[in-house]
Symmetry: C2
Subunit: 496 residues, 2 copies
């Protein structure tokens, strides 16, 4: 067996283990009975360790070393070696016992966070958070970086992105967003939302969600839709990408948009071609690019008039109370802007400000410019400045998100980048598909899917995010597309 | 770490892998989307190989060798070493490449069987069946045996059982069963079954099944109920034993009894104590003992008057058409005896004859006294002699069961043994719980569960089946309990 074949075989072994791990995770979050959780953690721990061992194995190191100098490789093979090489070196740079200490501290920290959030008791969480920060700073040193330790963490979620670049995007964007929100609130006409009121039995909501997923082009023979507390999308193997969603009895569109959001992620995974499966390239280009797909379907398709024109009769067929609701009424009601405390409930105008706040705190923490104890107050101050609202307690403030409790520093920016990438890519979609609105209004949502398949999905992780964006849109990240999209849409809705 | 600790740790590693494998299997048979099957087979193959490698590892061999001479072990530890030792030696006796050839042939053979069954084309299946027989005969030689190669295969499913012992049970039983069935048919009064007619929406059937499972004492916080084409029970880890069942729109009780059958298996697994988890003892004593639990709940509880007295009002609350149906009417209608072609549809009187036929053919095949080509005709002849019915085609005859296609020779007798064990154990239950019928009629099904927990479940695989039976009932297998149970019950129903 030559090295390339052995290398590919090795990746497939890792892929198989990761498929099993994904199914164990999916089941844990959907159907696992309560008493099964203790043993499940042990099973997952074992499989994760085996996958880790394969990823940092000397065998793989030798394959990579040899293949990195080989010059007769296909583009896919080169990209695979680049990506797997990066993962290999990152994982290898952490000494095994530090990693083990980290995973133990991680699970304690997450439990402490859960408890602290319930009782809004930041002090309970503080020592654990301190540990997570210490580990992350140590990891950054071990991974290595040029300008800023935070860059080393960003690399995990958004390869190639730096603190400096983020700052150059964030500062001008914030300076436009904050006054725009103020104008909407002070000079705009806040839409009526009564049209959305009501009680909506969950089984019928589920029918609607399935219908919409199918209309988007989601392949149910290579996936499924289930319900969970926290919606997510997961691929438990090639040709098996599962979506979960959540239904709220008195908030019909929450479930629909949650499904469209997760559906956007799922279409990306379903669009990754067979030749990339279990090759190290069978994910999205980055967390940000992945999020661009979910946000595009949720916001730029779902929360738009053409889609609502298509959707209203379907909605009325399941919930006859909407028989006489105009799509325009739905459109306005679904696009209100309200500065609020909780990120995951934020509208698309205020959402990025929640991220900017987190980015600034993370970056300062990683550079030791602020301490953990100051976080609650710094949080409140920034909320006041950016959104004009202040949490009354830490549960609605600094304790609201799970990410920091497991040491995921560097993750939050992906959410904002997803919004910006989505707007930039969608502008190109509009250029290429002139009658897009008409097609969507006619239920032909798959014209968008076909475009995304060809321009984005089929490359999997072959290109780094900025290179992919350059290929797709002709330029690297340009936040003006997002600002233009937001300004146009909301100026009209708010009658500015 | 001393050897005993290392040994236990090793078993836990195997246990974790087997838990993951079980979940992958469960998912494959419940929720896996169609296109996910190809990759799933690869994932399962990898994990199975890893578990196999751990089971035949030299490390385990050394532990066993050392521990087998150690004399300060607990009863559980001794039993674990006995059971794991047996599995180790069995697996070790097959050379890896023969085993690999077997698994490849197995999956081809199962596909061929599926096709052959569809088209009722025995010749299509014949060469594959020949291979499965050849492999099994070879395995029997490698496992080793004293009197009969078939003994070596029986050992897998019913430890300690031999061909000779089975013959001593079967011959007299058949000589009583065949004329008894004849008498029922010729002299008896066949009950009316019209009371069961109707159409029963599946969602309401599901409610009834959940209710019955709960009444049996099944712990839903350590398991779940789903629907599948072929019902099964599986433990995907300690504290997670899942039941699946099947609902037929115009056959209400089919689903209920399928649930009670699988529920019986599940209660056994849920009753295995924590200390036996992942120790090699966390299964039933044998396939036959496991089947005794499912058959007991299905037939000796479910298809009896006391249960139907308890169940009728619940049934009527879900399906009001049963509001005026007397429990006695249900009882008679649910206990008709009809010689038929298909094993899995057979009533409890004729069922064992289906097994006897298979046992006789298997035993002769394994000893080379008959050839594959003769099977269809031998099958028809035996059906005629034992049940007086002859299949018109092989799909309803020799091709009906999947077992032979995957080389599971020696498995069928467990089904019959399950019936015999159940009757023998249930006779003891009646002796110990004098007011059992009254308790069941009052919905106190858990009195039976408590008894089974104490007498059977808590031992897991600690005792070989006959030793367990001796402990529980005071004697080894005695088929007269079954014959007495059948004769009493059906003489009364058929007014002999």
């Amino acid at each position: 067996m030559n090295t390339l074949t052995a290398y590919k075989k090795h990746l497939q072994e890792i892929g198989k283990l990761q498929s099993a791990i994904s199914l164990l995770h999916w089941d844990q979050r959907t159907y696992l009975p309560q008493k099964g959780h203790a043993a499940r953690a042990l099973v997952l721990g074992k499989l994760a360790r085996m996958a880790f061992e394969l990823l940092v194995s000397d065998k793989l190191g030798h394959y990579l070393e040899e293949l990195e100098t080989q010059d007769d490789l296909s583009l896919e093979e080169q990209a695979s070696i680049r990506e797997v090489g990066k993962a290999y070196r990152r994982h290898k740079s952490i000494p095994p016992d530090i990693y083990e200490q980290f995973t133990i501290a991680q699970s304690r920290s997450e439990s402490a966070w859960e408890q602290a959030k319930k009782t809004s008791d930041f002090e309970l969480f503080q020592p654990h958070l301190q540990k997570m920060i210490d580990f992350s700073r140590r990891f950054a040193e071990l991974y290595g970086y040029e300008a800023n330790p935070y860059d080393a963490l960003l690399e995990e979620y958004e390869p190639g992105m730096t603190t400096e670049q983020l700052r150059l995007v964030i500062e001008p964007l914030r300076k436009k967003l904050v006054p725009f929100i103020k104008r909407l609130r002070e000079e705009g006409t806040h839409p009526h939302t009564e049209a959305l009121d009501g009680a909506f039995p969950v089984d019928r909501q589920e029918k609607l969600s399935s219908y919409v997923l199918k209309a988007m082009g989601y392949d149910f023979s290579a996936g499924r839709l289930d319900t969970t507390v926290h919606p997510f999308t997961i691929s438990t193997g090639p040709q098996d990408t599962r979506v979960t969603t959540r239904f709220i009895n008195n908030n019909l569109f929450s479930g629909i948009f949650s499904t469209m959001h997760e559906g956007g992620h799922a279409l990306y995974d379903q669009g990754i071609p067979k030749k990339l499966h279990w090759s190290g390239l069978d994910g999205g280009a980055s967390f940000g690019i992945h999020e661009s797909q979910s946000r595009m379907w949720e916001n730029m398709v779902g929360k738009q008039l053409p889609f609502l024109r298509f959707f209203q009769p379907i909605l009325a067929s399941v919930f006859p109370e909407f028989a006489h609701t105009r799509p325009e009424t739905l459109y306005n009601a679904l696009n209100t802007v309200t500065p609020s405390l909780i990120r995951i409930e934020a509208d698309e105008v205020t959402y990025n400000l929640h991220i900017m706040l987190r980015f600034e705190l993370e970056e300062q923490l990683m550079n030791g410019r602020i301490g953990v104890a100051e976080l609650p107050e710094l949080w409140k101050g920034a909320m006041k400045r950016y959104l004009g609202v202040v949490p009354e307690n830490d549960a609605h403030g600094v304790l609201q998100d799970v990410h920091w409790s497991t040491g995921m520093f560097g993750y939050f920016p992906s959410y904002m980048l997803g919004n910006l990438y989505a707007a930039q890519i969608f502008a190109k979609v509009r250029e290429d598909i002139r009658d897009l609105d008409e097609q969507i209004a006619n239920g032909k949502l798959v014209v968008l899917l076909s475009w995304l398949r060809k321009q984005v999905h089929r490359f999997g992780k072959m290109y780094e995010p900025q290179d992919l964006l350059q290929r797709v849109t002709g330029e690297r990240l340009n936040p003006s597309y997002f600002m233009r999209y937001i300004t146009n849409k909301y100026s009209q809705i708010y009658k500015l």
